[in-house]
């Protein structure tokens, strides 16, 4: 009886410990985070049904470290002409008319000690969906990937072909490919 209790105790402790470890390693990981936004903007209609390219609105991703959330004026490029009216579109138009900035809730956040540059990845041909998931099917934006360092390194190691010197030699033989520099160096992202 006592032996069984002890064995059961250990099993539960093991399970509990495992759960704690999993919880501990998930601290700060917000996969599945889908907060409510001030305007319930559906990517499914815009990027999905209407096939608006990601970079049309999130133009910063091409040249900047931040992809950015578009200003209301970008929305109004179309919505000043579109007749369709919903409560959400109404909210947008009011904000724009009053020149009131819309306070979006950031979904994808990296800690302060991480430097991530969108333009490096965009110009190297990484598709937006690779990290952000099937955004064109989302009604409300959700963080699809864990965005942990290990997850980033998975791609860096397998697809970006480090060490850089090896790739530089390979890439030099391939025309029109930008020379990537996705290093495994700590200072690629931490400085």
């Amino acid at each position: 009886m006592k032996v069984r209790a002890i064995v059961l105790g250990f099993a539960l402790l093991g399970a509990g410990g495992g759960l704690i470890a999993r919880g501990a390693t998930r601290i700060g990981v917000h996969q599945g985070y889908a907060p409510e936004q001030p305007i319930d903007f559906p990517h499914r209609i815009h990027a999905g049904d209407n096939k608006i390219p990601c970079l049309y609105c999130h133009s910063g991703a091409r040249t900047s470290r931040h992809a950015g959330i578009p200003s209301a004026s970008v929305c109004m490029n179309c919505h000043s002409l579109i007749e369709k009216q919903t409560t959400e579109i109404q909210r947008l138009k009011e904000a724009f008319q009053q020149q009131r900035p819309i306070v979006w809730t950031k979904v994808h956040n990296l800690p302060d000690f991480v430097y991530f540059n969108h333009s490096q990845h965009v110009v190297s041909g990484v598709a937006c969906q690779r990290c952000h998931g099937a955004v064109e099917r989302m009604d409300r934006i959700e963080q699809a990937s864990p965005l942990t360092m290990g997850w980033c390194l998975g791609c860096h190691r397998s697809e970006a072909h480090v060490p850089t010197s090896t790739f530089a030699r390979v890439a030099a033989n391939v025309r029109n490919r930008p020379t990537p520099f996705a290093g495994e160096d700590c200072t690629s992202c931490h400085y």
Partner: protein
């Protein structure tokens, strides 16, 4: 254990265990609500444990704290978040008006760089200029105009002032007291004001005045100007108490010129010979081939002896009929005089004698020297002069008299603080009450503006339009980097509003350029608009200006010589009797004239010559200190005819033994929290004599009977026989050969696409410390305050070590910038228990802040002691009331660099953020990164180009070529660390072994 599911808010701040609300969720200890009677895990404990971990998983779906992204309502094509913009402007840190290019992120300026297009500065900056970006975000700045101490609106202020001015065509005197104005458009506005106020007078006041030089040139050459000096055209340079590499007149430009003839590519035959005579140690003196300690009262006699020796060499008449050897006897360092004169005579037209002396007679002798040597028109350009100092010493005392007489109806003070920095400051303050209307354009309630009726704060120069003409024909424009942060208004706009000609500064500027200057340029295809846009983008414009009318030397040098000799004799007699000392006021690179006192970056900048921070000291020669029984740290009382001061003594080998040097710019009482009460104000101790402002005075020194604590950044100045700063020898070999000889325990480290390295030319480094402030600005380095500096916890990643060679008055000071050497076999890496520091594939010794747990073993093991530890949370603690704890001050932070928390080690990372951005730029442009694409902050700020950064893996890069040369060496090479940062040996000073 609570059964309720914690909400997102609570997840951040409340432990599900209950009872210890406020604990962060990350605490994984057993919830304190658990009852645990013994070591046995009860069933309840296990369940609560499981519940806790389930709770932990559950709340992962929530997020705390919530972050927001707030785009502008209307997208801007110019401002893309994350992409810096750069705009050209002009510095306002002093009247040298160097051209700048300022980096702006998200609509605010965060980093100042020099403008490489400038034909004067070539892209260099100085420490004060680099620090000026922080003064924009100074909490002490006024946020609204003040009338009688109360905030008012601008229309109300204008109403008050117009009423008080009492209408135009008025015969009452309106005086503008300002610092030197180099802006041609502003001068035009002042001319316009004369139409509105017939009795308008402009009094120019410089706290560090060059009025004697101007007066001498007026007497000798017919124009009261300061020449444009060309150190790069001189093969022999003699500096007589002029710190032209540090603070005198235009140090950034002069350092660049000087370095052209002294460093890098200057081969031996072209290399300039530099002699410096000074009382205290200055940056310039430390870089001279020959430094002679000369007291201010002896300087004139030295110049006279030099004149006599040169005249003899050139076969011209001896000055004042006095024989050269007779003159030499009156002078100090007689032996050196003849040798210097010989060199000067051999280099007619290619030599330069400059003096910062406050004595007009001495300046006349210097002018005579330059004329004799044929330097006028070559290294001394009087026809295209410098406009960087226009103050007249007699004007302020005369103004005080006028004020006291009641003759001045309205006084406007612009960029001047005479209550603090003029010897008659107290008299000026008293006289203010005799003026009906007093206005100041100061940005804060400083010592002077606290006593005026109206403070109409001017913009910071980074918020303002404007222009500058530092040297005749060389123009530089100023444009705002940010909309004014507070309710301030350009002084020019205020003046025009009160003269009933309201206009905005930009229009005034454009109209002036179109009217007065555009016509003298080659017309652009697009007319003035195109010219204007191009000029604003480039920042600098060179437009030839008619020369100032001057005539060849016609001054009374005979009279000057006789005057100096007789005064010298009287002086010596007096000195012999009283045994007194001379107090010499000196300007340092950090404090300058005191206007930046509330800038903590400059307060914490270690002075290159004393290595002290947060305060000034009385520098005393070792022999003098011994005679007085004074040790470093003993407080001494200095008493002159006009004032008394108590300061800690600092024994300084090389200080002239009868002089005490004290830095100006300290002891402010109304600068702000950082600057008030730091050091002591020495300005009142020297006075205006016969209309000439003196910067030295007879002083008596007495021990005050107590000690004070200094805040030194370096306490040990000897190299202890190790060759840390090396000099060239004839038998030097190329650098690589020596390496082979050292055995190596480590495997050769392979590098990736690049191998970043750096070369620092010790010949070119003057010690000006612009790089130190640039690094602080670029890398979000915190200010720690005097107390922490005393504990050796200063946070600068880059420091300029100062070593002494020799002792006594002939001691040489050597400067060496020291930062992380990025050793290939780094002693710090092997001892980090968590591998927070490793070497990247490109040779950078990288510090990963989030891995660091703060054992500090790495700093312990570093032989160069370049690692800095964050002992405190500088961003959140009240003990550090500097820019990082202020919401306004935080605006200066560089968003590309992590702000480190307590417990983390940091050090130079060769500006890896700039390297990454450079690589990204190249990637976006589909090209490989080129040499020169990436410049580290220290490299970019250096006025002499001493620091060169680049890719050692590229044999054609500048740094590879420098490192392959004979002069390259590594510090502490014998330790086998194989640093990626190398130094270029100093050339041995001429005349030494």
């Amino acid at each position: 254990m609570t059964n309720r599911r914690p909400s997102c808010e609570e997840a951040a701040h409340g432990a599900p265990g209950g009872g210890d609300g406020g604990q962060p969720l990350v605490q994984l200890g057993l919830p304190t609500g658990t009852r645990s009677t013994g070591f046995e895990a009860t069933r309840r404990d296990v369940l609560s444990l499981m519940g806790f971990s389930l709770g932990a998983i559950g709340v992962a779906g929530c997020r705390a704290p919530v972050q927001h992204a707030v785009p502008l309502p209307a997208a801007s094509a110019e401002m893309v978040p994350g992409v810096p913009n750069q705009y050209a402007t002009t510095c306002g840190g002093c009247s040298a008006a160097c051209a700048l290019v300022v980096k702006q992120r998200d609509g605010r300026p965060i980093k100042i760089e020099g403008n490489e297009s400038s034909s004067l500065t070539g892209g260099g900056t100085c420490a004060a200029g680099q620090a000026s970006v922080l003064s924009l975000y100074d909490d002490a700045r006024l946020r609204a105009p003040l009338w009688m101490g109360n905030p008012v609106s601008w229309p109300e202020m204008d109403q008050h002032i117009r009423t008080a001015l009492g209408g135009h065509g008025d015969a009452r005197e309106v005086v503008l007291l300002s610092q030197t104005i180099t802006s041609p458009s502003t001068r035009a506005v002042l001319d316009d004001l004369r139409a509105a106020f017939p009795k308008f007078r402009h009094v120019v006041y410089d706290p560090m005045s060059l009025a004697s030089l101007r007066a001498a040139n007026r007497l000798c050459h017919g124009a009261a100007v300061i020449p444009h000096y060309r150190f790069d055209r001189a093969r022999v340079v003699v500096g007589l108490e002029a710190d032209f590499l540090g603070t005198w007149l235009a140090p950034v430009e002069f350092a660049r010129q000087w370095a052209r003839r002294r460093a890098g590519g200057a081969d031996a035959s072209e290399r300039a010979f530099h002699v410096q005579c000074e009382a205290g140690l200055s940056v310039t003196g430390s870089n001279a081939d020959l430094r002679l300690a000369v007291a201010p009262s002896e300087l004139g006699r030295f110049a006279v002896a030099l004149l006599g020796a040169v005249a003899r060499r050139l076969g011209t008449d001896p000055p004042a009929g006095l024989d050269a050897s007779a003159l030499a006897q009156e002078a100090p360092h007689a032996a050196a005089v003849d040798s210097i004169a010989g060199k000067l005579a051999l280099n007619r037209g290619e030599s330069l004698v400059v003096s910062g002396s406050d004595d007009v007679a001495t300046q006349i002798v210097v002018a005579r020297l330059n004329a004799l040597l044929g330097n006028v028109g070559k290294t001394v350009d009087l026809e295209q002069p410098s406009w960087q100092r226009q103050g007249d010493d007699a004007a302020l005392p005369a103004l005080i008299n006028d004020m006291n007489r009641g003759a001045v109806h309205a006084l406007m003070i612009w960029g001047a603080n005479p209550v603090y920095d003029h010897p008659d400051g107290a008299a000026f303050r008293a006289a203010l009450s005799k003026v009906a209307l007093t206005i100041s354009f100061a940005d804060r309630r400083d010592e002077t503006s606290a006593h005026v009726s109206a403070i109409c704060p001017d913009h910071h120069f980074l918020e303002a339009w404007g222009d500058a003409e530092p040297v005749n024909g060389h123009f530089s424009l100023r444009q705002p980097l940010i909309a004014p942060l507070h309710d301030t208004r350009a002084a020019v706009e205020s003046l025009l509003a009160w003269a009933d000609r309201p206009a905005d500064h930009r229009s005034v500027l454009r109209d002036f350029w179109r009217r007065a200057l555009y016509g003298q340029t080659t017309p652009a295809a697009g007319g003035f608009e195109e010219f204007w846009e191009r000029s604003l983008e480039r920042g600098v414009v060179d437009i030839p200006r008619p020369p100032v009318a001057t005539h060849p030397f016609a001054g009374d040098s005979e009279g000057a010589v006789r005057d100096i000799i007789s005064r010298g004799r009287a002086n010596r007699a007096g000195a012999d009797q009283s045994g007194g000392y001379e107090l010499a006021l000196a300007e340092t690179v950090g404090a300058r004239d005191g206007r930046h006192a509330n800038n903590p970056w400059l307060q914490e900048l270690p002075d290159p010559m004393t290595r002290l921070t947060w305060g000034n000291v009385a520098c005393i020669a070792p022999e003098t200190a011994a005679a007085l029984g004074v040790a470093t740290g003993d407080v001494v009382a200095l008493t002159t005819e006009t004032g008394k001061l108590e300061l800690p003594a600092f024994i300084q080998a090389g200080q002239q033994r009868r002089t005490i040097s004290v830095a100006v710019g300290y002891g402010r009482s109304a600068a702000g929290k950082a600057g008030d009460g730091v050091g002591a104000n020495v300005f009142p101790l020297a006075r205006v004599e016969n209309g000439v402002r003196r910067y030295s005075a007879r002083v008596t020194v007495a021990k005050a009977g107590r000690r004070a604590r200094l805040a030194p950044a370096q306490t040990h100045f000897s190299m202890e026989g190790r060759e840390i700063v090396q000099f060239e020898h004839e038998h030097d070999q190329a650098h690589g050969d020596e390496h082979e000889k050292l055995p190596d325990l480590w495997r050769e480290r392979l590098h990736g696409a690049h191998a970043w390295g750096m070369s620092i030319d010790l010949d070119a480094c003057t010690g000006c410390s612009a790089c130190v402030v640039a690094c602080q600005a670029e890398n979000n380095i915190p200010v720690v305050g005097a107390e922490q500096v005393r504990k050796s916890r200063i946070m600068h990643w880059l420091r300029i070590d100062r070593y002494f060679e020799g002792d006594g008055e002939d001691a040489r000071s050597l400067h060496q910038p020291m930062m992380c050497q990025h050793c290939q076999h780094a002693p710090c890496e092997t001892v980090c228990p968590v591998l927070a520091t490793t070497t990247s594939s490109e040779g950078i010794n990288q510090q990963v802040y989030n891995r660091c747990i703060g054992t500090r073993y790495c700093a312990n093991n570093c032989p160069y002691k370049v690692r800095r530890f964050n002992w405190h949370n500088f961003t959140a603690s009240d003990d550090f009331p500097y820019n990082m704890t202020s919401p306004l001050g935080r605006l200066v932070l560089n968003p590309d660099v992590t702000v480190r928390s307590r417990g983390v080690m940091e050090k130079c990372n060769l500006c890896v953020q700039r390297i990454q951005l450079g690589k990204n730029e190249a990637l976006l442009q589909r090209r490989p990164i080129a040499d020169g694409d990436v410049a580290t902050a220290c490299q970019q700020s250096c006025p002499t180009g001493a620091i060169v950064f680049g890719d050692r893996a590229d044999p054609d890069s500048r740094v590879s070529k420098l490192l392959a040369g004979r002069r390259a060496y590594n510090v502490l090479e014998e330790l086998g660390t194989r640093p990626n940062v190398s130094y270029l040996k100093k050339r041995a000073p001429e005349g030494s072994t």
